[in-house]
Each structure stands twice: as structure tokens, then as C-alpha cells.
């Protein structure tokens, strides 16, 4: 492989990885605070996509549409928690999982009925398709923007979590929710905040996702939630930075397989990536970074 190709693939892997990392972190945020798997998380990406579709169709600039998409995803995330998950606060894991599953199906089918079951195009700015050339190196603009936005979002979130008292509250709740409550942290506020951050991350990832695909469909949330699930499991459940690591590991696996596999095996790239994940998990059932708490009883 030429060094040029290597650099290109490296940037591809990093940009894909930053999307996966955002998604995984959003999912892990809610999981670590509430112990629930939010299946409706993928639908936040869908909501971002459709808000952008409407606004771009109404002649708004792409950036405004993107910001609005992120805001709507954040609000939707908080709202979903209040409507669908708060009444089930004390319910077991499985019940919450199904509840979020049902929410996902409801949102998908509402979009199917109210908008259209068919794909809708979201025109992306022309600059996204351009390529920067440095001598013999060619680097796509979109992967660079994705990487930049992704890393910026992760950095801001890290600063928020590490430097502010709200961030401390979230980290404390993630470590041990009951003890955090005893220390005077308001449960409902922390949970709402976790869902807001989760929605925000889904929104940012959603914008990047739509910029890559250029279309929105009612079931477009399935692939993001799947990647997030897998990344979170690779990284170690209930561990925020493990989720980020898991996202990058998954992206590197996929891009590497895409390069290494012979053409006739290309359709199986995803299957091979998942097999690799299962192998990782066979040797490390707790994920790459196991949660630091003792086993929850």
C-alpha cells in the first residue's frame, strides 16, 4: 500500500471513528447513569436528519439546519425521558429496554406516516465533496470536517465532565447513582442532564451522518444505534471513555477489513467486523476497559 493511500484510510478510519465515538458516548451516558439501554437513541439521529431535511428544503443554510437539528435532538431526548421512561423509573432493565424499543418503533412509524416511507434527499454543500491536494496526497474535505467536529465535541464534553460541578454530578451518578443521591445530587436533574447530553451527541453525530449519506429515511437510526451498541460493548459497559475507545476500535476494524478483504468478500465486511468483535469479547467479556465499580448487586 502506498503511503498516500495509508494516510487516506487512516483519516477515513479516524473520521468514521469520531462519529462512532459520539454515538457510543451518547448511549453510554444514559446507560451509566440509569443502567438502561436506550434503544430510541438511534431515532434521535433520525429526528436530526428530518429537521435538517425540512429546513434545507425551506432554503435555510446547511449550518443553520444542522444547529437546529442538534437542538431538536437534545429536546427530543429530554422529552422522551419524561414521557416514556420516567413513569418506569423503578422498573427492571428489560422493561426499560422494551419501553425504549417501543418508542423507537413509534417514532419511526410516525415519520413513515407523517412524512413518507421513502428516502428523502438532503442536499449537502458542494464543499463537502471536494478534495484537498497536498503534493501526491489527496484528502477529502468531509472526513476532515467530520474529524474536526467530532474531536471538538468530544473535547468540549470532556472539559464539561471534568471541570464543572454538573460534570462532576454526572460522573458521580455514573459511578454509583444511589450514593450520588445521598450526597445531595438531584436525581431527576442529573437524569435530564444525561439525556440532554445524550441527545446533543446524537444530534452532532446525526449531522455528520446525514452529511455522509445525503438522504434521510425513517429507519436510518438503526445503523447508528447498532454501531453505538457494539462500540459500547467493546469499550466496556458503563464506562464513558471506554465507549469512545470502542467507537474508534470499531471504525478501525471496519476500515481495515474494507482494505484487506478481497473484493468478493466486501459485502461481508460488517459480518467480519462483528465476528472480530465477538472474538474480542470472548477473551475480554467485560470489554476493553472494565467498569471500575464492583459488580452491581
Amino acid at each position: 500500500m502506498t503511503p498516500e493511500l495509508l494516510v487516506q484510510q487512516l483519516i477515513n478510519a479516524l473520521s468514521l471513528g469520531s462519529i462512532y465515538a459520539l454515538l457510543a458516548l451518547g448511549l453510554a451516558m444514559v446507560f451509566s447513569v440509569l443502567g438502561m439501554l436506550n434503544f430510541a437513541f438511534g431515532e434521535l439521529v433520525t429526528i436530526t436528519g428530518y429537521v435538517m431535511f425540512w429546513l434545507v428544503a425551506a432554503q435555510t443554510s446547511f449550518v443553520t439546519a444542522a444547529v437546529a437539528g442538534v437542538i431538536f435532538a437534545t429536546l427530543a431526548s429530554v422529552l422522551i425521558e419524561q414521557i416514556a421512561f420516567r413513569p418506569l423509573r423503578r422498573a427492571p432493565f428489560v422493561t426499560l429496554l422494551f419501553s425504549s424499543f417501543a418508542v423507537a418503533v413509534i417514532i419511526q412509524n410516525l415519520i413513515r406516516q407523517l412524512v413518507s416511507p421513502r428516502p428523502k434527499g438532503v442536499p449537502v454543500p458542494g464543499i463537502f465533496d471536494e478534495v484537498w491536494r497536498f503534493g501526491t496526497f489527496q484528502i477529502g474535505v468531509l472526513p476532515m470536517i467530520t474529524l474536526g467536529v467530532g474531536l471538538a465535541a468530544l473535547g468540549l464534553l470532556a472539559a464539561f465532565l471534568q471541570r464543572t460541578s454538573w460534570g462532576l454530578a454526572i460522573r458521580a451518578a455514573a459511578l454509583d447513582f444511589e450514593v450520588a443521591r445521598l450526597m445531595g445530587i438531584r436525581a431527576n436533574r442529573v437524569i435530564s442532564l444525561a439525556f440532554a447530553i445524550s441527545g446533543l451527541l446524537a444530534g452532532v453525530a446525526g449531522v455528520l451522518w446525514v452529511a455522509r449519506r445525503g438522504t434521510v429515511t425513517p429507519d436510518m437510526g438503526f445503523v447508528p444505534i447498532l454501531k453505538a451498541f457494539i462500540a459500547v460493548v467493546i469499550g466496556g459497559l458503563g464506562n464513558l471513555w471506554g465507549a469512545v475507545l470502542g467507537g474508534f476500535v470499531l471504525a478501525f476494524l471496519e476500515v481495515t477489513l474494507d482494505v484487506v478483504l478481497p473484493i468478493e468478500f466486501r459485502p461481508y465486511t460488517e459480518a467480519f467486523a462483528l465476528i472480530a468483535v465477538v472474538v474480542i469479547l470472548y477473551f475480554r467479556p467485560q470489554g476493553l476497559i472494565a467498569a471500575q465499580t464492583a459488580e452491581r448487586v
Binding site: 446507560f31 439501554l37 416514556a84 413513569p87 418506569l88 422498573a91 427492571p92 432493565f93 428489560v94 422493561t95 429496554l97 422494551f98 419501553s99 424499543f101 417501543a102 418508542v103 418503533v105 413509534i106 419511526q108 412509524n109 410516525l110 413513515r112 406516516q113 416511507p117 425513517p218 429507519d219 438503526f222 447498532l226 451498541f229 457494539i230 459500547v232 460493548v233 459497559l237 459485502p267 461481508y268 460488517e270 459480518a271 462483528l274 465476528i275 468483535v277 465477538v278 472474538v279 469479547l281 470472548y282 467479556p285 467485560q286 470489554g287 459488580e295 448487586v297
Partner: protein, 339 residues
């Protein structure tokens, strides 16, 4: 490690008799009514029950959600198709098929057992890794299994004919065969529930740590539950294939996973009878709404196509049931039993 509990067996036996009798009455009633559409609905309902009951064997006893069982369902269906499609049809549809498979043409029972066997092998391969995981991680990893198998179904063209799908499966199913299938599978599910391994698995569902302290090997009991459930799901898929006659990979994906899981949740995870009840409720709702989905007129009002109405209604039903009856309609209770 421990012996069978005679009391549990007796309770399970009673449940099996009552459930079989109810299903027999339903089947007999439909048969006497002699309406082709009703017989079709009842046959589909019995086949759906086999799926949901097979899924219940793992999810109900272990308390771990599996999004991957529809993959076993697909494995069973493809196996049955390859075993039953006449060689002359295979030569046209699947010219690259290995000679051994090409010339095979087996009957209903062999195809069904074959589906169970292949699904069992897939379950074994995946289960060895999955059963070692923590409960929630395992739930997520089963979703990966679903996607992985879907990729294989849609791309392994020599065997599955890719996204186009297979056709030409001879009809091996009628109302009575479907009824026998569900009665046998319910029997096996109840037998597993009353078995020592089944009880250990239920103990690990309620209190994983306590279960370990009395010497239950979590990985082992979970793996056994996964294998039994996967094999049953494979046989259910094989039966289904011999009724639908032609199918493609997209019939083993997200929508089907949602359908079977929703039936299980609505009926109550912990109960075999609940699986049947859930299947009945969802079938009823779907059949009522299916006509509306295509659009209808209400006086002067003309309602256009409503795509996804059935799914939407089922999802709302799940939300309502979860909020008011978190354990499902039957909870842990079985028909004809005290618990």
C-alpha cells in the same frame, strides 16, 4: 447436579394439557367453520406461536433479552428450504449449489429437524462467546448476531440466492401440522422450564450472585438455555418456511424481531402461556388493522394509505401494557398452574 422436581413436572404437565386443549379447540373450531381466510390466519397464528414460545425458552428463563433469535429462525427456514426444494427447481435457482445439497429432497420431519440442527450449531458457535458476557452486554451482542446473519443471508448467493430469496418450497404445512408443531414445542418449552437446568437458569435470572453461591455455573446454564432455544427457533423457522413457500433475507430482520419480542412482552416474559397469549393479542390487533393500513373511506373522509399503522399500534400497546402491567398480561403465571 440435581434431580427433576416431580411437583414442577406435574404443574408443567397440567399447563401443557390445558394449553394444548385450548389450541385444539381453536384449531377445531376454525376447521369446522371452514373459511379459507380464517384457516390461513389460524395456521399463521400457530406458526407464530412456535416462534414466540421458542424465544421465550431463552428470554423468559434467563431474563436476558435476545435480539438475535430471528437469525436462528432464518437459519431454520433456509435449511428447510434447501432440504425440501425439488432438485429441478434448485438447478435453475441455485446452479452453483454443491451436489450433495442439490440432489437432496426430504420430507417435513427431516427438514424440521435439520433446521433445528443447523440452528443449534450456529447457536453453539455464537453462544460460546455470548454466554460469557454480562447480561446487558449479551443483549447488545445478540443484536450484532442478527446483523451478521442478515449479511450472510443477503450475500451468500450460492446458497441463499442473495436478496432475491428462495422459492419453490413444497407446502408441507396445513392447519393440523401447524397445530401439532406448536403443541410439541410448547411441551418442550414447559419441559425445559421444569428441568433442573431450567430452574437454575431462572434462579440466575432472579439473583445471579445468589445463584452462583449455591454452585450454579451461570455461563453453563445460559449456554444450555441459548442452545435449546436456538434449536427450537430453528425448527420453528423450518415449519414457517414450508408454509410461506418463498422468502428472502429481509424477512429475518428488524421488523420480525420487533414482532416476536412484542408478543413476548405483551403476554409476559416469564410464562410459556404468556407467549401464546401475546401472539394471540398481536395477531388479533394486526388482522384488525391490516385492512386500515391500505387506506379506507370514512363517510366523506378518505383516509389514504397508512404505512406502518400495525407496528405503530403494537408499539403503543406495548407502552401502555408496560406502564400498567410491567410484567405483561400473564406475568409469571401459567395457564392451569398456581404460579
Amino acid at each position: 447436579m440435581s434431580n427433576w422436581s416431580r411437583r414442577r413436572l406435574a404443574v408443567s404437565g397440567r399447563t401443557w394439557l390445558v394449553l394444548s386443549l385450548l389450541l385444539l379447540l381453536a384449531g377445531g373450531g376454525v376447521w369446522l367453520w371452514d373459511d379459507a381466510n380464517l384457516i390461513r390466519i389460524a395456521t399463521n397464528f400457530f406458526l407464530l406461536c412456535t416462534l414466540v414460545v421458542s424465544l421465550q425458552v431463552f428470554v423468559g428463563n434467563s431474563g436476558i433479552v435476545s435480539f438475535g433469535h430471528v437469525a436462528f429462525f432464518g437459519v431454520g427456514a433456509y435449511t428447510a428450504a434447501l432440504l425440501t426444494i425439488p432438485p429441478n427447481v434448485k438447478e435453475r435457482a441455485l446452479p452453483m449449489l454443491p451436489a450433495i445439497l442439490m440432489n437432496l429432497e426430504t420430507g417435513l420431519v427431516t427438514a424440521t429437524l435439520g433446521g433445528a440442527l443447523v440452528a443449534f450449531l450456529v447457536a453453539l458457535l455464537t453462544g460460546l462467546a455470548l454466554a460469557r458476557m454480562q447480561e446487558q452486554a449479551m443483549a447488545m451482542a445478540t443484536l450484532a448476531l442478527l446483523v451478521m446473519m442478515h449479511a450472510i443471508f443477503s450475500n451468500w448467493e450460492t446458497v441463499t440466492r442473495g436478496t432475491i430469496g428462495l422459492y419453490g418450497i413444497p407446502r408441507g404445512i396445513n392447519l393440523w401440522v401447524a397445530l401439532s408443531g406448536i403443541i410439541i414445542i410448547i411441551g418442550l418449552a414447559l419441559l425445559f422450564k421444569a428441568s433442573p437446568t431450567g430452574l437454575h437458569l431462572q434462579a440466575s435470572r432472579e439473583q445471579p450472585l445468589a445463584a452462583q453461591t449455591i454452585g450454579i455455573n451461570l455461563v453453563r446454564v445460559r449456554l444450555i438455555g441459548w442452545l435449546v432455544s436456538g434449536a427450537l427457533m430453528g425448527s420453528a423457522g423450518a415449519l414457517w418456511a414450508q408454509n410461506i413457500l418463498a422468502f428472502g433475507p429481509d424477512q429475518f430482520y428488524f421488523v420480525e424481531t420487533f414482532t416476536v419480542l412484542s408478543m413476548l412482552v405483551i403476554g409476559g416474559l416469564g410464562s410459556v402461556s404468556g407467549a401464546v397469549v401475546g401472539a394471540a393479542v398481536v395477531t388479533g390487533v394486526s388482522e384488525m388493522l391490516r385492512d386500515l393500513e391500505g387506506g379506507f373511506t370514512l363517510g366523506p373522509l378518505s383516509i389514504p394509505e397508512l404505512p406502518g399503522l400495525v407496528q405503530l399500534a403494537v408499539a403503543v400497546l406495548i407502552m401502555i401494557i408496560l406502564i400498567y402491567r410491567p410484567e405483561g398480561l400473564l406475568g409469571q403465571r401459567e395457564v392451569g398452574g398456581k404460579r
